[in-house]
């Protein structure tokens, strides 16, 4: 008997196997999260953005609001200058980014490599509840860009902001290879409970929220 059979057999001794194969009735209802901050009500759209920005700030992420997608390169240049980084970045192989005018910067579209300093990606969605960026892996969105560089800049279209994780799931049509929820820069408190940013992943996590996809 294989280990698989042995394990399932033991399980069925307890649970019974009569209904095996047919989906059990799973009707336990997930509670709606109840926060002081009202993010459920979609009537107040700005609430979502406010909450997102506030939550991101709590976890040491930074944020900038832009009117147009076309303003992104200038904003990135300013940000990198401010943090004292070289004007060079790996950008996601995403049209939204590659079509932009990066004249002040050296950019390359590819997956990340060991010593890349800065990456720029496009968020699949943002989750206001927790200040989380959701990345969905694809040929246009290599997963390593989220983890290897020291500075991770994420472009989030405001229209892609949802209130809660429950509102996020339906946006996924087919399961991608990986979904990364990112909530702030990489950190550790393993040395005497002292919070240190940039453990293995990005030290700086900067989100640029863009109102219009122009």
């Amino acid at each position: 008997m294989s280990a698989r059979e042995a394990i399932l057999l033991k399980i069925f001794e307890v649970t019974g196997s009569s209904n095996f194969g047919s989906a059990p009735d799973f009707s336990i209802k997930l509670p709606q999260p109840d926060y002081e901050f009202d993010i459920q009500s979609n009537k107040i759209e700005s609430n979502k953005t406010d909450r997102f920005v506030a939550m991101l700030a709590q976890v040491h992420g930074t944020c900038e609001m832009l009117e147009n997608l076309g303003d992104v390169p200038d904003s990135v240049t300013n940000y990198l200058t401010k943090v004292g980084a070289e004007l060079r970045a790996v950008i996601a192989t995403d049209e939204k980014l590659s079509q932009l005018d990066w004249r002040d910067m050296a950019v390359e579209s590819r997956a990340a490599q060991k010593f890349d300093r800065t990456s720029i990606t496009v968020a699949f969605a943002g989750i206001a509840e927790t200040g989380t960026i959701a990345m969905v892996s694809s040929a246009q969105s290599p997963i390593t860009l989220n983890f290897l560089p020291e500075i991770n800049i994420v472009v989030l279209l405001e229209s892609r902001l949802v209130a809660t994780m429950e509102q996020f799931w339906p946006k996924i049509e087919a399961q991608p290879r990986a979904i990364n929820f990112i909530t702030g820069p990489s950190k550790t408190a393993d040395i005497e409970q002292t919070l240190v940013y940039g453990a293995h992943g990005p030290r700086h996590f900067h989100v640029i929220i863009v109102k219009n996809q122009r």
């Binding site: 280990a3 698989r4 394990i7 991608p176 290879r177 950190k187 550790t188």
Partner: protein, 473 residues
């Protein structure tokens, strides 16, 4: 991992005398308890989520066979492989075979408690593989040759100085000649050393916090990002997870994520939560070519059958450790196996044998604080007491203890005798005490070694009450 739980008494005594450990534990307890409290208060219906977590886990366990096979089908559909292992040895064999087929040499590892159960590192190292733990805490204890002392903060017992010395000892041959003493510099050095390993590893092994049946997703939650680098850079990603990690669907995952971060580290959401759904796709620019999930039983099906089924709801957040007065004073190593604290005291006897680990469920005051913070409402005190019931039925206790209990019982079960004899005892004790207390009493050394024993009054309450009552009537 070798079982040392039978040495709990001496190990806990030694731990109490270790001042470094004490300051480390004090620091950790304060941090964990306060941050959890804040994060829990922020979600006003957190209690509803606890109930939800409990119900969903119970539902999943009730239909475990269905959900496991559903998960398996989905993983296979997305191009991954699912392996089933009855015990740690089988799991290690599966992992060795995968590594050998991949011609691997170097293996990076994310934090995985089940791989500690299975002693996977040792089995790999014995076959000549280089294994590198990548969670900073795990990396530190790997350098120190120790085991984790906390479920989510494995090196919580280590001081900054300890780490400074360890890094100096192990990293100078890599060119890091100066001692690093500040947390930022320590972390930075680990980042540089481990970066090389991440990028040169052939296989990455991680655990999983949840397995989502409906989508075949293995979910890994970290703050450092080490899990994602381990999973994404090498050509082979192996996930080892015990069978009770499965949950029904993505919606329920949302519920558990709200519980996990808050309960574990007091975070609204951990930094990185990743769902892995199989190997690299055709057009992907990165990701592993092979994706394996090892589903490990290692005693879970036996627990499922037993009175201890509730413990399988555990999501390994560590809140019960952080709130346990015993754990926070003796630390994790005294428990002598993989899982310390209340969860360990329930789980260890079930996985390594009740008599071997009989101290663990007994070394608890049944104060119940753990149960009030458990995100899936595991009745930990009741389960600890259940172990004691089993131990009595097995006759596992010492003769002295059995005799003591028998003496007390013989008296307590006969109220008349009890009243007579206690009257006499009380009268004698009251007369022999000085200043209302004893510094020493025969047979009471465990108490009187460190505490005075309060003397009784001259007469018992029942005696006095009877006398008053007789006078009245």
């Amino acid at each position: 991992m070798k079982v040392l739980s039978q040495n709990f008494k001496s190990a806990s005594k030694a731990a109490l005398l270790n001042d470094d450990l004490r300051s480390a534990l004090d620091r950790a307890e304060g941090g964990f308890v306060n941050t959890r409290k804040k994060a829990v208060a922020e979600l006003r219906n957190f209690e509803d989520y606890r109930t939800y977590g409990q119900q969903v886990k119970d539902h999943t366990l009730k239909h475990l066979g269905y959900y496991l096979t559903q998960f398996e089908n989905k993983v296979v559909k997305s191009g991954g492989h699912v392996h089933w292992a009855g015990n740690g040895e089988q799991a290690n064999k599966i992992i060795l075979d995968i590594c050998s087929a991949a011609n691997a040499r170097k293996i990076t590892k994310g934090k995985s408690m089940v791989s500690e159960e299975a002693a996977t590192n040792k089995s790999l190292q014995d076959q000549g593989y280089e294994v590198i733990e990548t969670d900073l805490g795990e990396y530190i204890i790997q350098l120190a040759g120790e085991s984790p002392s906390h479920i989510i903060a494995p090196a919580v017992h280590k001081s900054k100085q300890n780490v400074t010395d360890l890094f100096h000892q192990h990293h100078s041959r890599l060119g890091f000649l100066e001692k690093v003493t500040e947390p930022e510099d320590i972390v930075n050095q680990a980042r540089q050393v481990l970066r090389d390993h991440f990028c040169s590893a052939d296989v990455g092994i991680t655990g999983a916090n949840f397995l989502v049946a409906d989508t075949g997703s293995a979910v890994i939650v970290t703050n450092e990002g080490n899990g994602d680098l381990t999973a994404s850079l090498p050509g082979v990603h192996i996930i080892i997870a015990s069978i009770e990690k499965v949950i029904p669907d993505l919606v329920s995952l949302g519920g558990f994520l709200r519980l996990l971060g808050r309960s574990a580290t007091g975070q609204i959401m951990s930094v990185y939560t990743t769902l892995f759904n199989g190997p690299k796709r055709k057009d992907d620019l990165d990701g592993p070519d092979q994706f394996h999930v090892v589903l490990l039983d290692n005693g879970r099906t036996e627990i499922l059958k037993s009175k201890y089924q509730d413990i399988l709801r555990c999501i390994r957040c560590g809140a019960c450790l952080n709130h346990c007065p015993v754990y926070t004073n003796i630390g994790g190593h005294a428990y002598g196996w993989v899982y310390p604290g209340p969860i360990g005291s329930v789980l260890t006897p079930l996985l390594v044998g009740q008599t071997k680990a009989m101290h663990l469920p007994n070394a608890c005051t049944l104060n119940g604080r753990c149960q009030t913070v458990c995100p899936v409402k595991i009745p930990l005190p009741s389960l600890l007491r259940q172990h004691r019931v089993d131990l009595v039925q097995m006759g596992a206790h010492s003769w002295a203890q059995k005799f003591g209990l028998w003496c007390w019982y013989s008296l307590a079960s006969r109220p008349k005798w009890y009243n007579q004899i206690t009257r006499i005892l009380v009268a004698i004790l009251a007369r022999t005490a000085t200043r209302g207390r004893f510094r020493w009493l025969p047979l009471a050394r465990p108490w009187t070694a460190t505490r005075d024993f309060p003397a009784p009054a001259q007469s018992t309450f029942q005696q006095l009450w009877k006398a008053q009552h007789r006078r009245k009537t």
